[in-house]
Amino acid sequence: MKTIIQAEQLCKNYDKFTAVDHISFAIEEGECFGFLGPNGAGKTTTVRMIHCVSPVSSGTLTVLDMAASIDNRTIKKNIGVIPQEINLDNDLTVRENLQVFAHFFDIPGPEAQRRIDELLKFVELEKKRDSRIEQLSTGMKRRLLIARALLNQPKIIVADEPTTGLDPQARHLIWQRLRQLKSQGVTLILTTQYMEEAQQLCDRIVIMHQGRILKAGVPTRLIADEIGREVTELRVAADQDEKLLAELGPLARGHERVGDSLYLYSDDGRPLMKKVLELDLPDTVHRPASLEDVFLKLTGRSLIE
């Protein structure tokens, strides 16, 4: 595997605010790499530096063996961007939106026409080709953004929270398309705050918080290492923690208090559940561990502070 993007001690500072704080990571060709984190974690700022619309403050960032810089048209030519904000051209029709973008990438007319027809089919918008943007649903707009990002046949696709504000059906359609692209060998960079999305799509992720990377790795591995296989949620007041943990603690491999809930982690939850039933606690959930647990464990406490 070839490293396609590499960051070393990457920083982004605004006047009095550090958005990205000395992060290092490497993204390999053909993988789906996810940046996870709450709002303001620095995910979007990081990917904006990758696709060269935001200058690097310090550290190094190499994309396709070139230093990322806002004037690097070669990098931009090889990246497709699905932005967080829907910034389609409202004055133009669906097809015109794509035509104008094809121009920006120097794609000659007949070739552009061919790609536009193909892409409209890919995102299931053929029937909407002559519609104005305002006549599209949010899901359709998001799909058009995908088509637009693919016009230049990019080696790298940056998808910045591509499913925000979508209903489950529209979300699954987007996921399918992104997986399809990955299977064609495109390198996918995803930012998301939906853990399910990261689990569905990403080969590797980093969890970001306050501009720093808290953890990096393969999602299933992270879950196994940080949490275990199962989670028991007890909805009990915090003042009972000490008493409960004295009984249940030895049966769990870890625990976390987040808000009104006490989370107990285990690889085999049966002895733990037996004890919980014995104690006859009123409000409990026992379920498989997920990325969300990793996320809460890593960022949960500081969110409450």
């Binding site: 696709h51 619309v53 048209r73 931009k76 910034n87 051209d89 004055d91 133009l92 104008v100 990438f105």
Partner: protein, 255 residues
């Protein structure tokens, strides 16, 4: 600064969106100057009569024509650009492509100048229908060239304003404090030579004064040596406004 041929792509994008509201903009850019021509030209012109050997309208038309270019180019690069930048986030999507921020801004200045040219040309056509003709076909071509230059000048100045405009209301300051005074102090409706000294000096600081002087000379074929100075002022101001406008806008767009 990195400019490229992609400026033309940005211009072309504006052209495609323009075709949907072309007629309304024709009306909008004609109405106000037309009022000036009718009220001042015919109403006041009846009292003034001849003006340097020709009817008053020959004095007025080049002034109103230049004003019209100024207004249209300014408003396009203020309101038009602001909407594209803040409301539509169009620039954000542009700079993620090989189009640079400089290309995008230059493309919009060129577009503002083109819109100015269209308004000015419409005025010229109306004047021709009223029987007020430029002195020769060559002067028509020179006027077209001048309108482009004036359009880029005021488009660039407007870009400077747009680069730090927090909202729409901010543009009122520029149009009330800069554009409107220029309309009355730049010799559009009457010659400046009866102004007291300080007002004459003030008018020399207004770019429109120099643009109108050149337009009037071309329209009537009355070339004088002072035009070199007028042209120099415009050239220097235009270059400065364009470079500063692009620089400030880039600073706003790239964070």
């Amino acid at each position: 600064m990195t400019f490229s041929y992609r400026i033309a792509y940005v211009f072309w994008r504006n052209m495609i969106s323009y075709k949907r509201f072309i007629l309304t903009t024709f009306l909008a850019s004609l109405i106000q100057p037309l009022f000036y021509l009718v009220t001042f030209g015919i109403g006041m012109g009846a009292y003034i009569g001849y003006f340097g050997g020709k009817p008053y309208l020959y004095f007025l038309v080049p002034g109103v024509l230049t004003t019209s270019v100024m207004m249209t180019a300014s408003f396009e690069c203020m309101y038009g650009t602001f909407v594209k930048m803040v409301h539509e986030k169009l620039y954000d999507s542009l700079i993620a492509t090989p189009v640079s921020a400089e290309d995008a801004i230059a493309g919009d200045v060129a577009w503002g100048a083109f819109r100015g040219l269209v308004s000015g040309s419409l005025m010229m056509i109306v004047a021709i229908f009223m029987g007020i003709l430029p002195v020769s076909p060559a002067s028509v071509l020179l006027l077209v060239l001048l309108m482009v230059i004036v359009g880029v000048l005021f488009g660039s100045l407007a870009m400077v304003v747009t680069s730090f405009a927090p909202n729409f209301d901010f543009f009122n300051y520029y149009s009330e404090l800069v554009i409107t005074p220029m309309l009355f102090f730049s010799g559009v409706f009457f010659p400046l030579d009866k102004f007291p000294g300080w007002m004459k000096t003030l008018s020399q600081f207004m770019p429109l004064t120099h643009a109108v002087a050149i337009a009037r000379a071309i329209f009537n074929g009355t070339y004088t040596r002072s035009l070199v100075f007028n042209f120099l002022v415009i050239f220097i101001l235009e270059t400065a406004a364009f470079l500063i406008g692009v620089k400030l806008m880039k600073k706003r767009l790239i964070k």
